[in-house]
């Protein structure tokens, strides 16, 4: 075997190894969801067992999964859409019409991510109470939009910066206004980047647990609240918790799997030029 072949083989093995390690907890969770509570905590853990749907039955009987899932979908996609609508114009202006304060503004935006959310829980809760936004899809959508906005702007900014100004100028020569410039030139050119930014924002919103647990009760509660109701310090509920978690991540896992091509393309976009 020649050295390049060996290197390739080693790299493949390494990649598989890392992938398996990363995926193992998810695999184990899915497996545990099909066990009985007794098998779920058995030592040594059993890899082969008679699968049961008891955990899923119980989980479905105790909570209305569809309602939670629908809330998660509406809120995470809604907040992502809102974030993109706000972020695209701002990233455009920062990338193509920078001022001496642009860098500072970008850093300042990011600094809001450094504040622990619990520090502003009380004021946000009071604002939401007075505006009637507690336990509403709209309220959580707004919070998630604001939460992800810095990251969305940053990512779009880096993608936009990679587009040569000349292309936009050429468009302008042909009589395109700012709106047409963005719609017909910038967006098609950076679509993979925008798609991966959107996907990341959806995933971050999907997984967010602090605000969803604190600002919702029942009507707008997403899947994170659904899982939280199955984690208990008393008694053995690993199988049920695993079943609930599997149900909660299933939609986003399938969604991520379907869109992985765009995601990988977007994340490596710019680096391969």
């Amino acid at each position: 075997m020649n050295p390049t072949m060996t290197k390739k083989l080693l790299l493949t093995l390494l990649a598989w190894g890392i992938a398996l390690i990363v995926f193992f907890p998810i695999f184990w969770m899915v497996l545990t969801g099909f066990k009985t509570e007794g098998e779920a905590v058995a030592t040594p853990p059993s890899l082969f067992f008679e699968p049961t749907l008891a955990g899923y039955h119980e989980v479905m009987a105790r909570a209305d999964y569809l309602k939670f899932a629908l809330n998660s979908i509406v809120i995470s996609f809604g907040s992502t859409l809102l974030a993109l609508i706000v972020a695209i114009p701002s990233a455009y202006s920062m990338a193509f019409l920078p001022t001496k304060r642009t860098q500072g503004t970008l850093l300042w935006m990011l600094s809001t991510k450094m504040l622990p959310p619990v520090g502003v829980l009380m004021p946000v809760y009071l604002l939401f109470r007075d505006m009637g936004l507690l336990d509403s899809q709209l309220g959580l959508t707004i919070v998630y939009m604001l939460m992800n906005l810095p990251i969305v702007v940053w990512m779009l900014y880096t993608f936009f910066k990679d587009i040569p100004k000349d292309i936009l100028e050429a468009g302008r020569m042909d009589g395109a206004g700012t709106l047409q410039e963005v719609l017909y030139l910038l967006l098609p050119l950076t679509l993979p980047g925008i798609a991966s930014t959107g996907l990341l924002s959806v995933i971050l919103s999907w997984n967010e647990a602090f605000w969803s647990l604190n600002l919702t009760t029942s009507d707008a509660a997403p899947l994170t609240a659904f899982i939280a109701s199955f984690s208990s310090p008393e008694g053995l509920f690993w199988a049920k918790l695993s079943a609930a978690s599997t149900l909660a991540i299933a939609p986003i896992l399938i969604f991520g799997w379907m869109t992985q091509k765009q995601m990988v393309r977007g994340l490596t976009f710019g680096a391969v030029k």
């Binding site: 809760y125 609240a225 008393e234 008694g235």
Partner: protein, 436 residues
């Protein structure tokens, strides 16, 4: 499921709930087993009260506590029924955050509620919450190990005896430790136990002017005893053991004795969950200088926040869920070991419960001997056995718990830990304005 399919479904559900015209109340509760059973009986309640629909928010204890405190402190009005512990009830009642429950129906039979529990939930003679289940602490031990060592359990063990027995049973080579006790720092973890130990050694958290007494001789004696006992006869790494960890250790046969919540009895006695079910002995919590405050008192209760807009419906629900009929219903549908314990005398008079739960008498006795209004040898200004009913206690308890944890782990001496704890509690109390 595709979104286009999900939307009409959700629409149909919304329509259906409009059609019913029932008042909906939102119940926030902890996801412990007894509450899950209550949630499972939703249909029974709705059948009996067709004009009320129940909406559940079920969360883990710590998450729930934070969620409810946020809502009640801001007057958020998101919940109609809240599940709160004995510690919060008097504090919240004083803030006028809870609805006073003074005109309960005759059929509720208020006098049937166990007195110590009832006292803990009352403020100036009025109830502010109804007990869902209650617990105290007691000692579990392994009858087989005691027999082998020729030890006879006494009716009221003392801590000196416990130390002696622990030394006889301790067998680390075979993975059996003399005694397991809580070591995980936290006001609801190690300090629940340590507070009862300090009580029975004659100590108290605060003197009558709210000055802490953490470095008093009584505290030093109690904590030194605890640290020595655990270092000599306890399992390794005890500082990471809380209630759950100890329950797992004891039920897998690794502890000779364990002093903890009475609510563990049902699970330890259930052969499906415990390997020691057939060799399990019960005894009252050990005492040292005084029986006062040697066993704790805790209950999970249902209360109505003042911000609720469906107070009458909420009251109907909480009187149902804490009634004698409810206990009967759980007994008949889920089995008598599953009924919520520690709230009503009638439960303990019930022959069916006595037969199913041989530990019932120990539990009842433990609860009845715990008096939150008189839990220390010297007089104290506070209510509570293992807790102090002031808002600062969560912070204070956890600070002291961490320092005692450090002493247990051998990072510092008991004296140094308690001196440090004393200073830190003094500072907290001064900042809170108890004295200058």
């Amino acid at each position: 499921m595709r979104l286009t399919h999900a939307l009409p479904l959700a629409g149909a559900a919304t329509l259906a709930s409009f059609a019913a015209h029932a008042e909906t109340i939102t119940v926030a509760t902890v996801n412990n087993n007894d509450m899950i059973i209550m949630q499972g009986l939703t249909d029974e309640f709705e059948k009996a009260h067709p004009d009320i629909d129940l909406e559940w928010v079920v969360l883990e204890e710590n998450v729930l506590r934070q969620r409810l405190t946020t809502d009640i402190a801001t007057d958020g009005g998101q919940f109609d029924v809240m599940t709160v512990g004995t510690y919060e009830v008097p504090i919240w009642a004083k803030q006028n955050w809870l609805v006073e429950l003074d005109d309960l129906p005759e059929s509720y039979n208020e006098q049937d509620l166990l007195k110590p529990i009832r006292d803990g939930l009352s403020q100036d003679g009025s109830l502010y919450a109804l007990p869902f289940y209650g617990e105290s602490s007691m000692m579990y031990y392994r009858t087989d190990l005691f027999e082998k060592a020729g030890i006879e359990m006494s009716d009221q063990p003392t801590w000196d005896q416990v130390q002696d027995w622990a030394s006889q049973i301790n067998d680390p080579a075979n993975d059996v430790y003399g005694i397991c006790l809580r070591g995980k720092p936290g006001w609801g973890e190690n300090m629940a136990f340590v507070s009862t130990l300090v009580n029975t050694f004659g100590g108290r958290w605060f003197d009558e002017d709210w000055h802490p007494e953490i470095n008093s001789p009584e505290w030093k004696e109690a904590v030194s005893f605890y640290v020595d006992l655990m270092n000599n006869y306890g399992p390794p790494g005890a500082t990471s053991n809380g209630f759950n960890e100890n329950q797992a250790l004891f039920s897998s046969g690794k502890c000779g004795m364990w002093v903890d919540a009475t609510s563990a009895a049902g699970r330890l006695y259930n052969p499906d969950e415990s390997q020691v079910a057939d060799k399990l002995g019960f005894a009252p919590a050990p005492i040292a200088k005084t029986p006062k405050g040697a066993n704790w008192l805790w209950s999970w209760t249902l209360a109505i926040p003042s911000s609720s807009d469906a107070k009458d419906a909420a009251k109907t629900f909480i009187t149902w869920a804490t009634s004698q009929d409810y206990i009967e219903l759980v007994g008949e549908t889920e089995g008598w070991t599953s009924v919520p314990p520690g709230t009503r005398e009638s439960t303990y008079e019930n022959p069916k419960y006595q037969e199913a739960a041989p530990f019932a008498d120990f539990v009842l006795n433990a609860i009845q001997t715990a008096d939150p209004t008189d839990s220390t040898l010297k007089p104290s200004p506070y209510i509570g056995v293992q807790t102090v009913n002031i808002p600062e206690f969560q912070a204070v308890g956890t600070q002291v718990g961490q320092m005692i944890g450090a002493a247990l782990a051998g990072q510092q001496s008991v004296d140094a830990a308690l001196d440090q704890a004393q200073r830190s509690v003094e500072r907290t109390m001064r900042q809170a304005g108890y004295y200058d």
